[in-house]
Symmetry: D2
Subunit: 295 residues, 4 copies
Amino acid sequence: MDLAHRVIAVVGGDEREREIARLAAATGAAVRAYGFPWPDGGIEGVTLAATAAEALEGADYALFPIPGIAADGTLFAPAAPEPILPDAALLTGMGPGATIILGWPDERLRAAAEERGIALVEYEHDTELMLLRGPAIVEGALQLAIAETDVTIHDSDVAVVGHGNIGRLLARTLVLLGARVHLFARNPVQRADARSAGCSPHPLEELRERAPGLSMVFSTVPSRIVDRDVLAALPANSLVMDLAAPPGGIDLDAAKELGHRAVWARGLGRRAPVTVGASQWSGISRRIAEVEDEG
Amino acid sequence: MDLAHRVIAVVGGDEREREIARLAAATGAAVRAYGFPWPDGGIEGVTLAATAAEALEGADYALFPIPGIAADGTLFAPAAPEPILPDAALLTGMGPGATIILGWPDERLRAAAEERGIALVEYEHDTELMLLRGPAIVEGALQLAIAETDVTIHDSDVAVVGHGNIGRLLARTLVLLGARVHLFARNPVQRADARSAGCSPHPLEELRERAPGLSMVFSTVPSRIVDRDVLAALPANSLVMDLAAPPGGIDLDAAKELGHRAVWARGLGRRAPVTVGASQWSGISRRIAEVEDEG
Amino acid sequence: MDLAHRVIAVVGGDEREREIARLAAATGAAVRAYGFPWPDGGIEGVTLAATAAEALEGADYALFPIPGIAADGTLFAPAAPEPILPDAALLTGMGPGATIILGWPDERLRAAAEERGIALVEYEHDTELMLLRGPAIVEGALQLAIAETDVTIHDSDVAVVGHGNIGRLLARTLVLLGARVHLFARNPVQRADARSAGCSPHPLEELRERAPGLSMVFSTVPSRIVDRDVLAALPANSLVMDLAAPPGGIDLDAAKELGHRAVWARGLGRRAPVTVGASQWSGISRRIAEVEDEG
Amino acid sequence: MDLAHRVIAVVGGDEREREIARLAAATGAAVRAYGFPWPDGGIEGVTLAATAAEALEGADYALFPIPGIAADGTLFAPAAPEPILPDAALLTGMGPGATIILGWPDERLRAAAEERGIALVEYEHDTELMLLRGPAIVEGALQLAIAETDVTIHDSDVAVVGHGNIGRLLARTLVLLGARVHLFARNPVQRADARSAGCSPHPLEELRERAPGLSMVFSTVPSRIVDRDVLAALPANSLVMDLAAPPGGIDLDAAKELGHRAVWARGLGRRAPVTVGASQWSGISRRIAEVEDEG
């Protein structure tokens, strides 16, 4: 993709945005950065702007980070010198016909974009990007599981609750590492899929009775399946890890009280920022290509 | 599941139905069989009926085979002494409220069942059953691929076209056997999924240009992606295997003409009949349980 | 390796020798062939000789096939128009200082070579070449196992007896295909190795008591561990496959008598001749390089 | 194994010894512990001794830890209140005919044991125990690699140097996690083995030229293969991990100087103490059984 006459602003985010900005510059576009951790040696082809407004001035595309918008309307940008509020004022510099690619907007940003004639392309709930981040998330879960246990994954009996994008990839990886993986899911299609990947599939309601034979429980579902009853039935000192979006699926306080190692694995998507940044760029660049083709 | 007061008829089919009948009898039901290959030693708890009508007389459930109904309206029953036509006359012996569980009915069977007050439960397009049959189908494809080639799967460059239930499982298995698997799919979500499973994903339109580097092509899509152009670009003596439903996705005549080993892999679902029969029974018995719960 | 001034004779063998001859010619050597199945289109850079003597005339290297020498002293050469007896007369055309690379010689060949001042390089018992052939042998065993059974490898309980080069690779591959693999070996080091690869290891003497839970037994040891007692304890219609060198480790006649599917898997090393020929060439060419370096 | 009339002393060590003591007690033996971290709730069937001498008094078997003897002659026992020196005085309480099972003795301990008529059984260099610890060591290496890198193991190009017990298991595991694994070894038999496990094998001397394409290097050999030349050729910010026994195979200071993430992975064998303790007990108990059988 040759974007030689385009201007791309990368605003907010974390180490992943470094890789995204670097790859954006490799298309030939002029790239301006603001609000993510800037590396000592700079990034080839990328200009650091002094403010978010300066970065956005005249941009054809603005890339905002995946974690989306906080309750106060600001972007995810822990390394920014000050909060970044993407209101109509900030977007002034982007002309009509420009595009913002982002996780998801709140109502204020949606209104501001409409006012300025700016298109929004969302990918928070994009299955492709979730799958591309999958290996980074699963490896992060492995790291935590290895760090927090007195047993090996190999030759252990472990449970994975849920067989969505992350549950499926995690379960398969644990099988390959030599665990006996018990996959708990409500949906019989998911259970059949898990069986073909080498798991022992079970309906959710069997989790309680199988708990005494497990040494690790990974939950990937947002509902509270791993409740106090299940936790009380696990052997002492089990690992319980919650990989679901808030409010999660495990009562972690109860887990700690009962003597388990309770791990809240939010934010694993920020792991392996070079790999994940590159993956996200592959999705972002396909969306840019679609906009260019339409234009 | 205790079906002690139920009568189940297993009519038509192949070696899989032996296992289905055997497992049906293990529930305590009275099981009558007709029209599938009867083993020399019989099947414990199963009675062989002299005609299809005798098997169906008074049955609460009739199990018809997955391959469904031929163009002339008869059931798949290659081992039956005569064709089995499930018309209203044949169904006379089943009372109102009975249930037929089958792949899929044609219009005549649908009308006949309605006339008699018999419910139909279809599973031909059932993803769960397809996934449960998946390992048998994939192992059958491996057997053919090993038999038909002069190279090992290990350390070969192979293509899988399509990433549906069978394509996905086949691709992952080939990865585990040590092949470099190139996965071709139109859908970027499927490509991202394939990548997480260790494949190199590509859009369909790249198949032609990558063909010279491949030694095996497995197609699981019903449309003609692997056309004469692609076939002509493969190295001489490649394996091309079509795993899709008719009309398939590979021009097998052209493949042979061009000196390839062209394999039509229909009917792999009939492999491993004990495993597959047991898998299908697990799906059938869940449907029976649902009917019983509602009744 | 540049062998532009060398003459290589490839004498006897099967389809593997085609690939060996082809790759030998790619070094720049003059290559003459006799006694293996000659392809319709010929082989680039390789001359078909009319007799074995013509092929060997003036050769610096003669490559004889791996299966070695029959009881009557002739080479393995099922496609040759007449038996090839490598006696002193036949070797006359090779000068002193020439080298024969082969599986293993008998006494007559050894004496003939010594008489002519020809060096012998043997590789029948070469672990490297066995490992390079390993994937072809294991895939051949998979093909037979899939063809001969009514169950899938996936989700079956299978036994591998012996954990040498082939047993180890076979066991690991069966694990990856989703079998529960019980590995029987006398040596605790081998059992510990098998455990790390995802097998359940057991001492040999437990085979008898575990037999009723198995559906396939693969024996890779030459001694008779899988005896009539073990065979009688297997479920009816089990698969028993012997992968060991003669006299093998399974009483196959007893196995058939007892209603099992008994498979004698000798000769799997002849599978995938292009891959295996290339593997063998990589080993042969390293030996040639050593001879050249010394010369 | 019934050891009802035996006394076993477990002296020194770390969390692994808890599991060893617990399993020793399950044989019916009287078990006395000293010098490893004692858990709050105690260990069922195990008595905590006040001194090492008290633990050893009348013991039939003494189990000393794997890490062996320090330069000053004391046992590995970081949690002991005072150093444990296994001299003739300390061993006084063990009668002639008793047995010490340990990693390896120094000269003083060997002399002291001989003086007292005590047998020594060593397992430091025991391949079986190394293989049983293998999965714990490999998982520890994965944890460090995931923690220290900005890329995923999945879809990365990584090198493993050496294909001994740990190198082989590590390489295979990295393959299963989706890395492209380049295996560097001097021995062609090891390279052929690595190839069959899905690695790309290379001779050691190619490490330098392939370094620019790698993002992680794991060395398992004690000699300095990964020297400054190789390190300088790696991309900036690579991971280099040394898994070999001292003095190791990587110049870690140079690695840091050159901007790499240099990790010294000694002591990974202490990970997963419950699993590893149980593994070691399986080896120790087999040795006890041999002593009992001889006795």
